[in-house]
Amino acid sequence: MDRTQMEAGLAEFTADQLEQVDEIIGRYKSKPGALIPVLEKVQDVCGYLPMALQYRVAKGLNLPVANVYGVVTFYSFFTMVPRGKHVVRVCLGTACYVRGGQRILDELVHNLGIQPGECTEDRNFSLETVRCLGACGLAPVVVIDEDTHGQMKPAKLAGVLAQYR
């Protein structure tokens, strides 16, 4: 990735966001094992981790970009595609699965018209699946942003989604 590509890749982020990114890198620079916390915080600020940001992190922490890419693609928490305004996460942990989590996902795929890992065209929703949120008592569970919706039924989904539309 050359300089112009990198700049183009960062164009969607505001100066303020990039400043925060650099500040995070600076804060962790000297700490061993800093990469993962830095990536977590950068993703917090920017929403996702496109290649251009990974270059910036690698350069800042003085690491080979391959290492950064390796870590980003290894952990499910990191994403290289942008997320929607609202992130809909369907739990497919065992407890949710045995209580019908798959049917909830099917209905969401149908309702939103996207597959897990994708974002709606209007960038309002992205759909993800997760492995157990530890709220098994409420299975099946759908988490939208910070809100946990327990004991979901396919028929209830439209009403829940409407609150975020």
Binding site: L133, A135, G137, L138, T148, G150
Partner: protein, 129 residues
């Protein structure tokens, strides 16, 4: 804060026991909302808010409200415990805002246990006693 020694630890223990307003008798009722992830997801936050509003509306200062973690029976969340001075704690289950209002008015203020919403009374068994 200065560092603690063992004696300080024991002092804190005694102090908390003594100063716990509820145990010391300054408060008439202790109201605990159980707020683990499960509880919060089932609406424990709004139950807490409801109790707080009720306390301020009733303008009483003898009710201690506090939160704690999950009591383990997720399928009956949200849960709250009402403990009147000198009486067994009463655990309420499947709370809604309106049930919370009724419990506050009838039980916390009026001393009448709302049996239809009760899960159980008393405390659990600790190991090895």
């Amino acid at each position: 804060m200065a560092k603690l020694s063992i004696n300080d630890l024991k002092k804190i223990k005694d102090k908390v026991e003594k100063e716990d307003q509820f145990r010391a008798g300054n408060k008439r009722v202790k109201l605990t909302v159980h707020m683990g992830t499960c509880g919060i997801a089932s609406g424990a936050k709004s139950i807490l808010d409801t109790f707080m509003n009720e306390i301020s509306e009733a303008n009483v200062n003898d009710v201690l409200i506090t939160t704690s973690g999950c009591i383990g029976i997720c399928s009956r969340e949200p849960l709250a415990t009402v403990e009147e001075q000198g009486k067994e704690p009463i655990v309420y289950e499947f709370l809604t805002e309106n049930k919370a209002r009724q419990i506050f008015k009838q039980h916390v203020l009026g001393g009448k246990i709302q049996t239809e919403f009760v899960l159980a009374r008393g405390r659990e068994q600790e190991g090895g006693k």
